[in-house]
């Protein structure tokens, strides 16, 4: 049976993990390669690396990091942050990434989704959507959720799927950082409307939030950062809990 996926997200700046990591067994808590290895050994199903530097001159650092990560782990991983061209994708996949994630670039130029899917296959192309509810309507936001657009989230999700996105990484800016649970309603709405997987992100605070997003939220995967980095929820405990609650999980 196909399992639901648990995905830790690592924010990367200048080749280092940021936003704080508190792992006692790490020699260097800022080293994304060490952290990636710990997560993969603990049973993470995939990893996402989000480069928040994303300036052109720093891209080489990210490529070097991808090469190192690919040497250290053998579970699938996605790289995102500032990717806007087919050439960017080619470099990162060539360095060993399994998938790339695009966000603002797709909003600016939706055709790039078609081009990337055609060149590398849909399974490599994750479209990240940052959504925020404004007066009862869900709007897509870009630039880390700071910049509103006129795109309705549901319509945009359908469009990116039609254009060849292989997965949607849906982050609720309303829930992100609140630890009050994932945005189950909009996640379920989008997941039910599309035939591609939806990764829910934003709001994880306890283990039952994950159960809720897989059941009520109809998510195929759930992504979180700080609760894993600070060991508030160890991945093996989370997966054991979810399996006990009847969610299909890969247990290692």
């Amino acid at each position: 049976m196909l399992t639901k996926r648990i995905i830790p997200c690592l924010d990367i700046k200048d080749g280092r993990t940021v936003k704080g990591v508190n792992f006692v067994q790490l020699r260097d808590a800022g080293d994304p390669v060490e952290l990636a290895k710990v997560y993969s050994d603990e049973g993470a199903d995939e990893l996402v690396f989000l480069d928040i530097t994303a300036t052109v001159d720093k891209r080489k650092t990210l490529t070097d990091l991808v090469t190192k990560v690919a040497k250290a782990i053998n579970i699938p991983f996605t790289v995102g942050g500032g990717i806007s061209t087919v050439e960017d994708v080619k470099v990162l996949l060539g360095a060993g990434a399994d998938k790339i994630s695009i966000n603002s670039a797709a909003v600016k130029n939706p055709q790039i989704i078609n081009e990337m899917a055609l060149e590398f296959g849909s399974q490599c192309v994750v479209v990240a959507i940052d959504t925020r509810n404004v007066d009862g309507i869900d709007f897509v936001h870009t630039h880390g959720g700071r910049k509103p657009t006129l795109l309705r989230t549901q319509a945009w999700a359908k469009e990116v799927a039609d254009r060849g996105a292989g997965e949607i990484l849906l982050t609720s800016m309303d829930n992100d950082g609140t630890k009050s649970g994932f945005a189950n309603e909009i996640t379920a709405e989008i997941s039910a409307a599309l035939s591609i997987p939806v990764i829910a992100s934003g709001g994880a605070g306890n283990m039952s939030h994950f159960k809720d997003v897989f059941t009520f939220g109809k998510a195929d995967a759930a992504l979180a950062a700080s609760i894993f980095h600070f060991k508030e929820i160890p991945i093996p405990d989370l997966k054991a809990y979810l399996a006990k609650e009847g969610i299909s999980m890969r247990i290692q």
Binding site: M1, T3, A70, N74, G96, G121, S195, D220, R250, I251
Partner: protein, 204 residues
């Protein structure tokens, strides 16, 4: 030495990285002559069936592989599309496959699916062993393997099926006949299970 065949398909370095960590000699080989020196061969594959076959044919690798595998019984393991091309043909294209195993590659019929997501079949899934084989030594079956594909190998000979996986339908996730092996999942992305399987292939 394990020869990882490079014909312009991705995921090759991931396999080499694992053999490097295991201290098992492995080399990336791209010319027909270079295959001679490999005791075992690994045939990766990502992309479309026809494109994969056409690359093997135009590079001269197909003729060499036919000789090494069919006549000289060199062990070979096909991964993902590298498994699918072991078949005789595919719904995905028109170019005949290597035809080393009887069967045809088919697309999942999503009309039969009752649950999303549909295609590709992407993520971790379990494999049910159909026949004991040393290539599965030490594998933790509950942990499963990582899959990414929209087509599957419909094996004609039940005896060729090593393992079955369920995704809308039952399909052969592992096949073997004599010196020819194929797995639909990606061992190079399947954490410790995948490492063990690649290690086993180096020993059997």
């Amino acid at each position: 030495m394990i020869g990882i065949i490079d014909y312009g398909s991705g995921n090759i370095q991931a396999i080499k990285n694992i053999y490097n960590r295991l201290n098992i000699p492995a080399e990336i080989l791209s010319t027909p002559e270079s295959l001679e020196s490999a005791e075992r061969l690994l045939l990766p594959g990502v992309g479309a069936f026809d494109a994969t076959m056409n690359q093997l044919i135009s590079s001269g690798l197909k003729d060499k592989l036919d000789e090494l595998v069919l006549e000289r019984k060199r062990k070979i393991l096909g991964i993902c599309v590298g498994m699918q091309i072991l078949a005789q043909s595919s719904e995905e294209g028109h170019t005949p496959g290597l035809g080393w195993l009887a069967g045809r590659v088919k697309r999942f019929n999503v009309a039969n699916f009752t649950q999303k997501p549909y295609l590709p079949h992407m993520g971790w899934n379990t494999v049910e062993i159909q026949r004991a084989h040393p290539i599965f030594d030490g594998i933790d079956h509950d942990m499963g393997f990582y899959f990414v594909h929209s087509y599957f190998f419909d094996a004609q000979n039940v005896d060729d099926i090593l393992s079955l996986t369920h995704y809308g339908t039952e399909f052969a996730s592992g096949v073997a006949s004599g010196n020819v092996f194929g797995f639909q999942f990606h061992p190079e992305k399947s954490h410790s299970n995948g490492v063990r399987l690649l290690e086993n292939f180096a020993k059997i």
